[in-house]
């Protein structure tokens, strides 16, 4: 790429146009990467926080567990794809145990759930640190190269990540809208007593939905592992952002989830270009608080208060 040494007179000449286009497309794709990850992490949270009213502060650890699963498989000599298959399984196992051991006993005690799941989160973090040792864990992406997209050159792996996330989301939408299990979930969410009345095992439905959300978060962790710094403490950043996705987007619809992810992820990636990441995070937080103040039921359901 030629250096931008030309005078202001030639600023509008042809070399500037591809540059601007390059910038726009790269920013857009970066935002799309972040939005994809947030959407996957937020999905599980939308199920547990938004629909079951369970504030699960250990949700970030599902992401961490997924990332560590990929690292573990790779360090044992397995391929990235094998690790990526293991990630949702690892997330599901942890989620299932958590639901059975703790969360199902606390459905009627929200503050206790917050404390207990935070305790579990600390235990998982320290457990991972004691098992795998201090320091960031290296995870290599399956594809190193870049792809030429006419306007810009972009890492191929990130494009794959976006595609997998989109396919997963599509799968979830189909699962919820087209299968009998999806019908069960929607019934339980709308009216738990009534669902029990017509013979749906609501406890089992909750458990499966929770485990399912954990698995998706684990998958997100596996996907993000080559791009992120894999640490036992990595979960908390995803936790906070995913909660904002759910709060801003409003609960109860895939549309709200997408809107929340676009809001948080898009704002974060655009701001990251201009200012330091911490300041960007602070601004996103403030924007989210203001958004909640103006639209208490979420961006997507804004009109229906």
């Amino acid at each position: 790429m030629p250096p931008k040494a030309c005078s202001p007179a030639c600023a509008n000449a042809s070399p500037a146009r591809p540059d601007a286009m390059d910038f726009v497309v790269t920013t857009l794709l970066n935002a799309l990467t972040l939005i994809s990850i947030l959407m996957l992490v937020g999905l599980g949270l939308a199920i547990s926080f938004g629909l079951m009213n369970v504030t699960n502060l250990a949700h970030g650890e599902f992401v961490t567990v997924g990332a560590f699963a990929v690292y573990f498989v790779q360090s044992m000599g397995g391929s990235f794809w094998l690790g990526l298959a293991a990630a949702p399984i690892a997330g599901a196992v942890v989620g299932c145990i958590l639901e059975f051991a703790i969360i199902r006993h606390l459905y009627s005690r929200p503050v206790s759930t917050v404390l207990a799941t935070w305790g579990v989160s600390l235990i998982l973090q320290q457990g991972l640190e004691l098992t795998f040792g201090l320091g960031a864990k290296p995870v290599t992406p399956p594809i190193e190269g870049t792809l030429d997209l006419v306007f810009t050159v972009y890492p191929a792996y990130r494009l794959i990540l976006i595609a997998i996330a989109a396919l997963t989301l599509l799968g979830v939408v189909l699962l919820i809208s087209r299968t009998s299990f999806g019908l069960d979930i929607r019934t339980v969410i709308q009216n738990r007593e009534m669902a029990e009345g017509v013979g749906i095992n609501t406890r089992r439905t909750y458990a499966i939905a929770f485990t399912f959300g954990a698995a998706i978060a684990g998958l997100a962790g596996g996907l993000v592992a080559p791009l992120a710094i894999v640490l036992p403490q990595m979960g908390v950043n995803y936790l906070a952002n995913a909660f904002f996705v759910v709060i801003v987007g409003g609960v109860g619809s895939i549309g709200g989830l997408v809107a929340g992810s676009v809001f948080v992820g898009g704002l974060t990636s655009v701001l990251n270009y201009q200012i330091s990441p911490s300041l960007a995070q602070a601004i996103v937080l403030l924007a989210a608080i203001v958004a909640v103040r103006l639209r208490p039921n979420g961006l997507f359901n804004g009109a229906s208060r």
């Binding site: 703790i102 206790s112 935070w118 600390l122 235990i123 909640v292 103040r293």
Partner: protein, 328 residues
């Protein structure tokens, strides 16, 4: 109700008496240990004042502790500012209260309660710590700021210098005692009664003419101001300030202190802070990474075994014996 108040005052007087007697048996180092623990006890009491009375959990209370600490450090390290200690304390309290007022306004008047509030304050704590790390030209980054002078000021011409162990211990104990007593009298009076009503049923309390969001906001701001004061005191006693002071781990620990000591008792959290810190120091000297693990276990155990804190063991035993006596 009156018997409970009398019991509380009795325990309070016993605690104050112990605090007065302690310097006679302890050496300088032990005094400083208790002094620092008392500061964290004040911090715990500030969280309890909000959480215990409103039932809303703030998961980023260390943000206010850290804000107070950083303001105190910046004011006292600046040679150009006169009366640095007093101005620093005032600035720390005002700064923490100001941030709490802004965040609280949007949340309480936006109808944010319960879990939503917990999440937003959690994120607030994360961001405060990140800001402290990344804004290194002001905050000193990861390593923080060192060389913060001890508190010194004049009272009617008499110089008060808190660089020694005993004066600083007395100063901190007095502040903690006065603050806890003040918070207690607020929370047992009319103000606290209205807060309890709001916690039980906000719509009904509002229908009776109480401005619920405003009450919650003022309580939150007061709680944050005390947390800022505790942060400022700690920074002067320790002589340094670091991003950890506004971090998530401290926010977590203060919740444990309150939960172990007994939510809504104000004195319990102070005692909880002192005892758990002693335990933490013992365990951390043994293996530093073991502490967060144990902390996690404490959270889970409290929720399932002791939802009302350590002090509830006494009440439980009492009811157990009563039940037995009645059975005989």
């Amino acid at each position: 109700m009156i018997a409970r108040d009398r019991n509380w005052l009795l325990i309070f007087v016993v605690c104050v008496a112990l605090a007065i007697l302690y310097p006679f048996i302890a050496d300088g180092y032990q005094l400083t240990v208790i002094r620092d623990a008392l500061i964290f006890g004040l911090f715990a009491a500030s969280l309890d004042f909000f959480w215990g009375r409103t039932g809303i959990l703030c998961f980023g209370h260390a943000a206010f502790f850290g804000i107070g600490g950083y303001i105190m450090a910046l004011v006292t390290l600046n040679d150009a500012i006169p009366f640095a200690s007093l101005l620093g304390l005032a600035g720390a309290v005002a700064g923490a209260a100001f941030v709490a007022a802004i965040i609280g306004y949007f949340l309480f008047f936006g109808g944010i309660r319960g879990s939503y509030f917990t999440i937003v304050t959690l994120a607030m704590g994360v961001i405060c710590q990140q800001a402290a790390v990344s804004w290194s030209s002001v905050t000193g980054g990861d390593s923080g700021l060192i060389g913060i002078p001890p508190i010194e000021f004049d009272v009617a011409g008499l110089p008060v210098d808190l660089s020694q162990d005993l004066p600083s211990y007395i100063f901190v104990s007095a502040i903690v005692a006065v603050a806890v007593l003040a918070l207690w009298s607020i929370s047992r009076g009319r103000w606290g009664t209205v807060l309890t009503a709001i916690q039980d049923n906000e719509v009904r309390a509002a229908a009776l003419g109480h401005n619920a969001p405003l009450r919650l906001l003022v309580t939150f701001v007061l709680s944050a101001a005390i947390a800022g004061l505790a942060g400022a005191l700690y920074v002067c006693m320790a002589g340094l300030v670091a991003p950890d002071l506004s971090g998530l781990l401290l926010s977590t620990e203060v919740i444990v202190w309150v939960a172990v000591g007994g939510r809504g008792t104000l004195l319990g959290p102070v005692l909880g802070a002192i005892f758990i810190q002693r335990a933490q120091q013992t365990i951390s000297s043994f293996n530093p990474s073991l502490w967060p693990l144990l902390l996690g276990c404490v959270f889970v155990v409290i929720v399932f075994v002791l939802p009302d804190g350590i002090l509830s063991i006494y009440a439980r035993l009492k009811s157990l014996f009563k039940g037995r006596r009645r059975a005989q």
